[in-house]
Subunit: 449 residues, 2 copies
């Protein structure tokens, strides 16, 4: 009875999968936040290296992973695929449950898969300084590790309330060498203007993005980097699904359903897109994105053009959105609190290739604890949504007396999130109803395109 | 250029290696703490199951690992062996550095290797409740995971100052289902008598052991469990070294030196004992234990009979000791702050089979940060001593212009110890001189045997 299905380094995929040429048509063009006219690569080159912008708009299905990146990936990749025998037994389900574990990376989540290529391509184009934001801290720590490898100076604007609530993530970012500031700071115009209005402002992802973008735009040698949403980020993450396919083939299996949690969409796209390729080519496989009920972008949002950030500095894109003004309740899966959604995932859902469900947080923690007790791994609150999705599918299979193969992405470990487990175990965690009124209000403020 | 040398589950060793029959003679018998007469297995059966006591005194070289345990081990074992290419490059050394990474276990350290068999053998003998103590929290969390698997109720007495300083470890213990109390508690005579003298007592490992032993001795259905020092604990840990030997063979290599940190001696014994077997049979290999200068048990202690715990409840054993009264300075490698040493490791050092060095903590953190920056893994403060040992050996090889193969055990990750990295990075960490006066005082109180 095998538990782990492993690949050797030699078996690691040599190319990322780009889904763009396989979609029914091109994505709607990103628009400039001020003029609302289509943006060119040149508009974006202040923030990103050309190599990443080319990937962002590429029509090549397979994109080579440079040897230097493969070499870094080998520190933790190929990541293991687990058969969850003990969870299956605990549930008494006839379903087979597999999970791909991305918590083995240095920073503890899938974010490192894109942090490394982003740092690499920036370095190749002579960039020696990057500015970024981080909320929960997973992206900031992954990029700190990656920038350290290439000798790039990194400045992280970390949402102040996270900076204070998660001091261990801050220490991790500093251990790899980056500078991290609680945002809003007095280092940018955006930060100073916020602090003038409210010196005790706890910060938000929107504000932190503004500070990082301003930092990059106002320093000649500095670029900006984003950890989700964009096409090139999903591209880099497809190594997850490509490996999983090879591993399932070794196990003589193929999934009936592929599950991942979604905030910006990158870990879900990472595992699902390579299976979407099969589906486009006739395979019967369900691709299920799970989101928090407190921030139900796909299940309750609109498919429309909207700003990617709350301060309207970034591009305007067509996607599922709850409105750039919407501030989700403070649930513990901080990485899933985003008003928008990757344009690729949005289009795939719109066209019926992918589907979505939304869960409240208490049921997700309950599932995470059953998972920890049976499989050993204490997962991130974000990943607990995927665990809950897999458990629901397995229980449905039990009810229907059907065999079924379930694959889900365990995007990261929860070692930096133990206070949220504490709150759940001591009964202090609250579920949030679907915040209908706030969403309705925010959706009234979409840009008139 | 391969980074990870992996074994399949089928290649996992099926037997633990027991070094006792290969030593020059039997260990001196453990003595009763009150009578100072040799103890029998019956004396100890109030605390431990017979299967573990048999292993404790076995003269069989190879002991079968039950299938049920192999099955649990497969959740994280075989653990990976890494070739530290990037660290070698950073050091500019001609030496090859390999490390075995035990941080992949559910609780994040090697402790799980013995927690699982200890829970298993207790359950097999009908025990439904176990009491234990924990200092830094690694042992308490490993045993909580293991007891949960076998439906055993677990009570953990956690040193109060750790309980307060490491709330995440406490949450982890609770997530797997154990009860955890800040020690001293008012649940035992030992605890109550301490609290009567000092209601604000921060606790100590000695007090917590007393509470756990009293709990086990005064409840019919309850046993006690210890996470290091004892022969059966080292036995279970030998799977580390046995796997490493198979992995190095795959890489076509054999170590010139094997390095591990020592507190009670179990992770070092785990990696070193299988190589000690080779050494006894004529192989040329150095076995290097590294300890903190603040608690230099082997390098500055006496080889003598002493109490294993500060409250004189446990057996009196022959070992290296700093005196059971010695309280080490509060360094961040809490798991290495033990006045005694595994009798097996002690005898091996005494007879020249193994050797030891002691390092101050700042140099260990400096090495840990170089390691994190090159290899990605942020290690536990305990493991940083092994990292520092490996780096010293590699730099010596560079100086001498010699090729050399170094193997060390990276016993766990440091995700629950980020405050100590914070202190190091902000210059707040202190080195402690060798506490000569305190040791001299404590060594005057050895039992007169």
């Amino acid at each position: 009875m095998q538990t782990k299905i492993l690949l050797t380094e030699q078996e690691m995929p040599r190319q990322w999968y780009n889904i763009l040429p396989d979609l029914s048509g091109p994505l709607a063009p990103p628009l400039h936040p001020v003029t609302l006219k289509p943006m060119t690569p040149q508009d974006l080159s202040v923030l990103f290296p050309m190599a990443l912008l080319e990937q962002e708009m590429s029509d090549k299905r397979w994109i080579d992973i440079p040897d230097e990146i493969l070499d870094v990936y080998s520190l933790w990749r190929p990541s293991p695929l687990y058969r969850a025998h003990r969870l299956e037994k605990a549930l008494g389900t006839p379903a087979k449950i597999y999970y791909k574990y991305e918590g083995v990376s240095p920073a503890g989540s899938h974010k490192t898969n894109t942090a490394v290529p982003q740092a690499y391509y920036n370095k190749k184009e002579g960039i020696n300084r990057i500015a970024t934001e981080t909320g929960a801290g997973q992206w900031g720590s992954a990029l700190s590790f990656a920038c350290n490898l290439y000798g790039i100076e990194l400045v992280v604007y970390m949402v102040k309330c996270s900076y204070e609530a998660k001091p261990y993530r801050k220490s991790m970012i500093e251990t790899w060498g980056a500078k991290v500031y609680p945002s809003p700071t007095n280092k940018t115009n955006a930060g100073r203007s916020i602090l003038k209005q409210d010196p005790n402002c706890p910060g938000s992802l929107g504000i932190a993005i503004s500070e990082a973008v301003e930092d990059a735009a106002t320093h000649d040698d500095t670029h900006y980097a984003l950890g989700s949403v964009l096409n090139h980020v999903l591209l880099h993450q497809t190594i997850i699904g490509l490996e999983a396919k090879l591993q399932l083939k070794k196990a003589g299996d193929y999934p009936d359903v592929v599950i991942g949690c979604v905030g910006g969409g990158s870990n879900f796209g990472g595992i699902a897109n390579p299976f979407a390729y099969d589906k486009i080519n006739g395979k019967n496989v369900r691709l299920l994105a799970v989101e928090p009920a407190a921030c139900p972008t796909i299940t309750k949002g609109l498919y429309a053009y909207d700003y990617g950030d709350s301060t309207k500095l970034g591009p305007v894109v067509e996607m599922y959105t709850l409105g750039h003004d919407f501030v989700p309740p403070g649930i513990h899966a901080g990485g899933l609190r985003y008003h928008g959604m990757s344009p690729i995932i949005s289009k795939c859902v719109k066209e019926g290739l992918m589907e979505a469900e939304a869960y409240t947080q208490k049921m997700c923690f309950e599932s995470a604890i059953l998972f920890a007790k049976s499989e050993g791994i204490i997962c991130a609150p974000e990943s607990s949504h995927a665990v809950n999705g897999a458990i629901k599918e397995a229980l449905k299979a039990k009810e229907e007396g059907k065999e079924k193969t379930i694959l889900f992405n365990l995007s990261g470990h929860g070692y930096f999130d133990m206070t949220s487990y504490d709150k759940y175990l001591s009964g202090q965690l609250e579920d949030y109803e679907y915040p209908a009124a706030e969403i309705k209000k925010a959706l009234n403020k979409l840009p008139k395109v």
